[in-house]
Amino acid sequence: MYRSHVLVCGGTGCTSSGSHQIMETLKAELEKKGLQNEVSVVQTGCHGLCALGPIMIVYPDASFYSMVKAEDIPEIVEEHLLKGRVVSRLLYQETVTPTGIKALIDTDFYKKQHRIALRNCGVINPEVIEEYIGTGGYQALGMVLTEMTPDDVIQTLLDSGLRGRGGGGFPTGLKWKLAKQNDADQKYVCCNADEGDPGAFMDRSILEGDPHAVFEAMAIAGYAIGASQGYIYVRAEYPIAVERLKIALAQAREMELLGKDIFGSGFDFDIDLRLGAGAFVCGEETALMTSIEGNRGEPRPRPPFPAQKGLFGKPTILNNVETYANIPQIILNGPEWFAAMGTERSKGTKVFALGGKIHNTGLVEIPMGTPLRTVIDEIGGGIPNGKKFKAAQTGGPSGGCIPVQHFDIPIDYDNLIEIGSMMGSGGLIVMDEDDCMVDIAKFFLEFTVEESCGKCTPCRVGTKRMLEILDKVTNGQAVLEDLDKLEELCYYIKDNSLCGLGQTAPNPVLSTMKYFRAEYETHIKEKKCPSGVCKALLSYIIDAEKCKGCTLCARVCPNNAISGTVKNPHIIDQDKCVKCGACMEKCKFGAIYKQ
C-alpha cells in the first residue's frame, strides 16, 4: 500500500512538454530517498489544463503542481513527499490563497465543470485495468448482462436523452433501436475515433486517459443490438491513444471482459482496432465503414443507413468516442440522473477543446446550456493581453462563429444551429479583435478543399471555386458581386453534396458573411483588412516623426526592403516588403505601424 500517489499527466499535451522526463526523474529521486514503496507514481490521461503542462498532482492532499520542470523534482520530493511541506511557489497559483491552499475543484477552471465523459481522465492510470474497475468500471456491463434485457438498455438511453457527441446530435438510443430492429446473422458496433476537426482533441484525451470506458460502452451496445464484433477506427496520428488502446484491449481480453461468455451470460463480444490513414472524410460514417472494409475511404449515399446496411452490408451502429464514454455512467446512475443535466433538448454535458486567444487552453466539460460567457470568461480565464472578444468558432470546418452579440447564448445543439453554427465535435476557438474573419473562413475552407475526397462534384469543384473567390477578397481583387456569387455557391454546395463534409463545408463562410459582412465589404471596397491580417492589403509604414534613425529595422529586415542613413528617418520599399512584421516588432520607438 502506498501512502501517497503522485499523478503525472501522460496526455498528449503534457507529453509534448516533457512529462515523461518528469516521471523518470521523480522515480529516480524517490528511490534515492527510499520512498519508492511509500509513494506511487501514476501516469494518467489528460487533466484538461493543457496550457499549464506538465501537470503533477500529489494525493491525498491534492496539491496541484503546474509547469513542472525536472530540476524542481528533487525539491518536491525532499520537501513535500518526505517532509510534508508543500512547495507553494511551484503550485498552480490559482490554488494558492493567503489563507492556505484551495482545492483544485474550487478553482475557476474546474469549479463550473462537470466531468462525466472525462471523469477518469487524469485520475486513473489508463494502462492498469484494475484502476478502472476500482472506480466502478465494467460494473455497468455486468449489470446490463445480468439484469437487463436489450430493450431495457435501449429504453434507458432513450430516456436519458443522450445525443451523438460527434457533431450531428442524433439521439443515440434511437440509433440503437433502429439497428436492433433489423434482423441479421451478424451486426457490428463501431466507434468513430477519427477525430479530425482542427483544434478538437477530446476523443483523443478520452482514448488516452480512459480507454476501457469506450470498450465497456461498445460491449453494452453489442448486447443491446445483438452484435458480437466491434471496431474502433482510430487515427494513426494518435500514437499514444493507439498504444494505450492496444494495452487496454489485451488486459480486457485477459480478464475476459471481452471475448466469450462475458460474466457467464453467454454473451460474446470482441473489439478490433483499425487505423485510419489521415483522411478527414473518414470521420464521415459511410466513408469510415468503407475504409474499415479495406477500400478507399469515400462516402456513399444514404439510405440505406448504417442501421440497415452498414459495415460489410450488415446492420451497424457507429458512435463517437465521447458518446460512448457517457454510457456506462448513464446505466449506473440511471437515465433521470443524466436527463436532469442540460437543457430541454440537449441533455448531459459536452466536452469542449478551448483554443485560440484564451488563457486556459485545454479541455473542459460543462453541462449543456452553460452560457458561452461562462466558458470563456470564467472557465477559460478570459482573453489575454486585455484584448476584446470578437467571436468564437465552434464545430471546426463544419461549423460557424458565434459573434459578440450572442455572447450569453446557452450552448446546446439547437441554439448553435439556430445562430448558424453547430456543436460539431466540440472545438471552440476564441478570436479577438486582431483576427480577420475573412481569413478565418479562408483557413477552414483551405482545410476542406484539401480534405475533400473528390467523389462528388459540388464538394470537389465547388469548394475550390469558393476558395478562389475568398482569395480574391483577401488580395483586394474582388468586386461586390463576388459576394453574391459566393453566397449562391454556398447554398448550392450545401444542397447537393453527397456527404456531411460537403454539406457543411460552406458553414464557416456563411456564418462569417452573416455576422461580419461589413468586414468582407471593407476588404473589397476599401482594399483594407481592418484587423491587419491579410498581407496583400497591408503595408508597413515608418512614421518619419518618430523614427530616430537607429537602423535596427534595416538590419532585421530579411529582404533588405528598408533603407536610410544613421540618425535620419528610414523608408520601407513597398515593392520589396514581404510583410513579415519583424521591423515593427523590433522598433524601440514605436515608429512603425501597419495599415
Binding site: 500500500m1 502506498y2 501512502r3 501517497s4 500517489h5 499523478l7 511509500e38 498532482i57 494525493y59 491525498p60 492532499d61 491534492a62 518526505l82 517532509k83 510534508g84 511541506r85 482545492a103 483544485l104 475543484i105 485520475v123 486513473i124 484494475e130 484502476e131 474497475i133 476500482g134 472506480t135 466502478g136 465494467y138 460494473q139 455486468g142 445480468t146 480478464m255 475476459e256 471482459l257 461468455d261 462475458i262 460474466f263 457467464g264
Partner: protein, 125 residues
C-alpha cells in the same frame, strides 16, 4: 470475468487505493508531523501504518492521511492530528505503529477518541 462477484472483489481491493485520489470537503484529515524531529522519532512507520490501514479498511474516500511539517512540540513527536469536520481537533502524541492502528480502530472507525494518547492526557508543564 465470469461473475459479478469476481468484479466486485477487484473493485473492493482497488477502491481503497484509487479512493486516495478523492477531493472532498467532508473528509476527515489525519495529519502526521513529518519534520526532521518527527522522522527522527519514528513518524515514517506511523504514517505508513495509518495510510495502509485506511486503504485496507476501505476508508480512503472518507479519511485522508497527509503529512505536515514541525508543529513545535518536538519532544512529543511523532504527533498525529485528527481533524473531523465540525469537531475539535484531536492531537495524539508519542505515536508508534501499534498505537496508530489502535487509533484507526477505535477513533476513526469506532468514533471514540483514545484519550490516553492525546496531548491533553499528557502532563505538559
Amino acid at each position: 470475468m465470469k461473475s459479478l462477484e469476481e468484479l466486485k472483489a477487484i473493485r473492493d481491493k482497488m477502491q481503497g487505493q484509487v479512493g486516495l485520489r478523492a477531493e472532498d470537503h467532508t473528509q476527515t484529515r489525519v495529519v502526521v508531523g513529518m519534520a526532521t524531529c518527527g522522522i527522527a522519532s519514528g513518524a515514517r512507520p506511523v504514517l505508513n501504518t495509518l495510510s495502509t490501514l485506511i486503504q485496507e479498511k476501505g476508508l480512503s474516500g472518507k479519511v485522508a492521511v497527509t503529512q505536515t511539517g514541525c508543529i513545535g512540540l518536538c519532544q512529543y513527536e511523532p504527533i498525529v492530528e485528527v481533524m473531523e469536520p465540525g469537531k475539535p481537533k484531536v492531537t495524539y502524541i508519542k505515536m508508534n505503529s501499534d498505537k496508530a492502528s489502535e487509533i484507526v480502530e477505535r477513533h476513526l472507525i469506532g468514533g471514540h477518541v483514545v484519550e490516553a494518547y492525546t496531548i491533553s492526557a499528557a502532563d505538559i508543564k
